[in-house]
């Protein structure tokens, strides 16, 4: 059959200039390598080269083939505007067999390169937003935001974090033993006494094994039960809390939470997640992994030492705590939460010990009974 002509069979031709339908007869002349189209309403018969025939991918009816010619254009598909529809099974079968590029998807030259280039620009834009613009915006916003707004924002952040920790209802994870909370208040009062803080401190303990404490914007400090379980004593805990208060006072927490919220929103847009589910998860995750810059950490350490000195609490507890961290860090490559982002524990322990050597007249921040009560706050 190859080599012979197929047809003439009936076809319908649209010239691409007008919407009129021309009834035509179509012959596939394989020997000449062309499709011959002629009809009474056509000014001249047409010869379409077989190598340039393309079939449209979307077909209205089964068994029909809509043909066009490959053509260079700057707009839309690389197709000539004329269309030829045929439905003769012998002809469509032969076309599919004999035309090598019938189903080819033509790409404009350089389309791949353009794709890569634009993709790179898009990625660069997102990176720029995430790592340059958002942090700056967060810095500016954090210094402009009024304290009341900051407190409200902090509450939102804490509840976000609670649900990230698996609380179905707000307050479900709160530890509420009266004696324990009283001890916590004593500790908080001792630290903040005479410190002229911008924020009213509000401390809570959540029943979770994570060894972590974190400061939300607006003076909310959240302690995880895991930290109480592992702290060597009340002085160590006081040091960690003083450090967190340092972050709150420097508005690091606000800055960080704003940035986390911004990144989460941006990422969920990039991922096309309109429901915001990813954003919620990411936000909780980022806030928990509070990673401040090294300078912010060093500042918070200085703040904590000053606070401990003012409150006459020995910073030896702080040194113990960092020693413990250094020990864990040397034993483990990766660490969850608090530790991974607070580098150089040995150095920090050293500074705390030097400070402790210069301190005089310190007394424990809690007595033993109070400390035991605080540790049992979740029971």
């Amino acid at each position: 059959m190859t080599g012979d002509a197929i047809g003439p069979v009936q076809g319908w031709f649209f010239d691409g200039q007008g919407a009129a339908r021309h009834e035509v007869s179509v012959t596939l002349n394989a020997a000449r390598g062309q499709l011959e189209i002629s009809g009474p309403s056509l000014p001249a018969s047409l010869n379409w080269p077989m190598a340039e025939l393309r079939a449209l991918r979307d077909r209205a009816r089964k068994g029909r083939l809509t043909l066009t010619l490959h053509e260079h254009s700057d707009y839309g598909a690389l197709h000539d505007e004329a269309r030829l529809t045929v439905d003769d099974p012998a002809l469509t079968g032969a076309l599919k067999r004999l035309c090598p590029d019938l189903m080819r998807r033509d790409m404009r030259p350089g389309a791949g390169r353009r794709l890569v280039r634009r993709g790179a620009w898009a990625v660069a834009a997102v990176v720029l937003m995430l790592f340059v613009i958002l942090p700056r915006m967060a810095d500016t916003l954090a210094s402009l935001i009024p304290v009341e707004r900051e407190v409200a924002f902090g509450r939102a952040v804490v509840s976000q974090m609670e649900s990230a920790l698996g609380a179905a209802n707000m307050g479900e994870l709160d530890c509420t033993s009266l004696e324990g909370l009283r001890a916590l208040n004593t500790l908080s009062a001792r630290l903040s006494d005479g410190a002229s803080l911008h924020y009213a401190l509000e401390m809570r303990v959540l029943n979770h094994e994570m060894i972590n404490a974190f400061a939300a914007p607006g003076g909310q400090v959240v302690i995880m039960r895991g930290l109480l379980d592992t702290a060597s004593g009340p002085d160590a805990l006081a040091a960690v809390l003083a450090h967190e208060i340092g972050h709150v006072e420097a508005r690091d927490a606000t800055r960080h939470a704003l940035r986390a919220a911004g990144s989460a929103g941006l990422l969920s847009m990039v991922l096309g997640d309109v429901t915001g589910g990813t954003a919620a998860v990411l936000l909780g995750e980022r806030v928990l992994q509070a990673s401040y810059t090294r300078e912010a950490e060093a500042q918070a350490d200085l703040f904590a030492l000053a606070m401990l000195n003012r409150a006459k609490v020995s910073s030896a507890g702080m040194a113990d705590f960092f020693d413990g961290l250094a020990l864990i860090e040397s034993g483990m490559a990766t660490l969850p939460g608090y530790f991974s982002t607070h580098p150089d524990s040995a150095g920090r322990a050293g500074r705390a010990r030097d400070n402790a050597a210069g301190q005089g007249g310190t007394r424990p921040v809690l007595n033993n009974a109070q400390w035991q009560a605080l540790r049992a706050v979740c029971d």
Partner: protein, 275 residues
């Protein structure tokens, strides 16, 4: 959230224009004028009116927004015109109104102390309302299509079968929930199980969880296309007839709207090239 609303309408019109610019029939291009700005404030105004009248002016909104788009649409060098009137579209709304009436009636019956009637009406009402909304969309579409005009006297007849479409949507939704439950439910259950047994800490599951969630959205969206959008579109398209088709011979090709409202990835990827 309110700040995004104008963008949504803006995007809706631009999507419409993009699709028109890349759709051909008989080799002749469709097109729509660049008029997304006007669409934004009209759409917002109509929505405010519709919400303020608790939906009573919905046909007015449907009609005028459709007229705005239709009157700016072209096939080749021929322009579409939307005739008809929004008042004639209240017939299409009767099942929506029936649903509302049932709910209101149920509340009244409850207040009068007829619990049996109240329960029946309050259970039936919302379902009637939901089905009524589909019915409204189909009937409104048929009305608007039948009152469209193209160029010199080309008209359209649309006879979509509301019952067929509602059945397809209900059956399609059932199939989608079954398939999605199977595809997404199993890995989700495995993850919950692993965390529940404390084999893996919950923190390790955050990333897989997020990925599963995103994949889930994509799966739902594709199932939706396959089981609802395409069958309904196919049905609607096969029930539309063009009358006075010989007048099509007068229509000439229009110039391509180069890069109509969707530069960037859409064109780099040649997604419009399929048409």
């Amino acid at each position: 959230m309110m700040a995004v609303v104008p963008l949504i309408f803006f995007a809706q019109y631009r999507v419409y224009r993009y699709r028109m610019a890349r759709t051909r029939w008989r080799g002749i291009r469709f097109g729509a004028e660049a008029a997304a700005g006007g669409y934004v404030w009209r759409a917002m105004g109509h929505w405010v009116l519709t919400l303020a009248t608790l939906g009573l002016l919905l046909p007015r909104q449907t009609f005028w927004l459709e007229k705005y788009k239709t009157d700016r649409s072209w096939y080749g060098d021929a322009r579409f015109v939307q005739d008809g009137s929004w008042r004639s579209m209240y017939g299409a709304m009767r099942h929506v109104l029936t649903g509302v009436a049932l709910v209101l009636g149920g509340i009244v019956a409850g207040a009068l102390g007829w619990p049996f009637i109240a329960v029946i009406a309050l259970m039936l009402g919302p379902v009637w309302f939901a089905v009524g909304l589909i019915s409204y969309r189909v009937r409104a579409f048929a009305y608007l299509t039948a009152h469209k005009r193209l160029g010199a006297g080309i008209r359209f007849e649309a006879a979509p079968r509301t019952g067929w479409i509602i059945r397809q949507i209900i059956v399609g939704s059932l199939v989608i929930s079954l398939l999605a439950g199977g595809i997404m439910g199993v890995p989700a259950a495995v993850m919950v199980f692993l965390v529940g047994l404390e084999v893996v800490p919950i923190g390790l599951m955050i990333l897989p969880g997020a990925v599963l969630y995103m994949v889930g959205l994509a799966v739902l969206r594709s199932l939706w296309l396959v089981w609802i959008v395409q069958p309904v579109l196919g049905h609607v398209v096969t029930t539309i007839r063009v009358t006075n088709a010989q007048a099509l011979a007068e229509i000439r090709q229009r110039a391509g709207d180069t890069g109509a409202d969707a530069e960037g990835f859409a064109d780099a990827l040649d997604v419009g090239g399929a048409f």
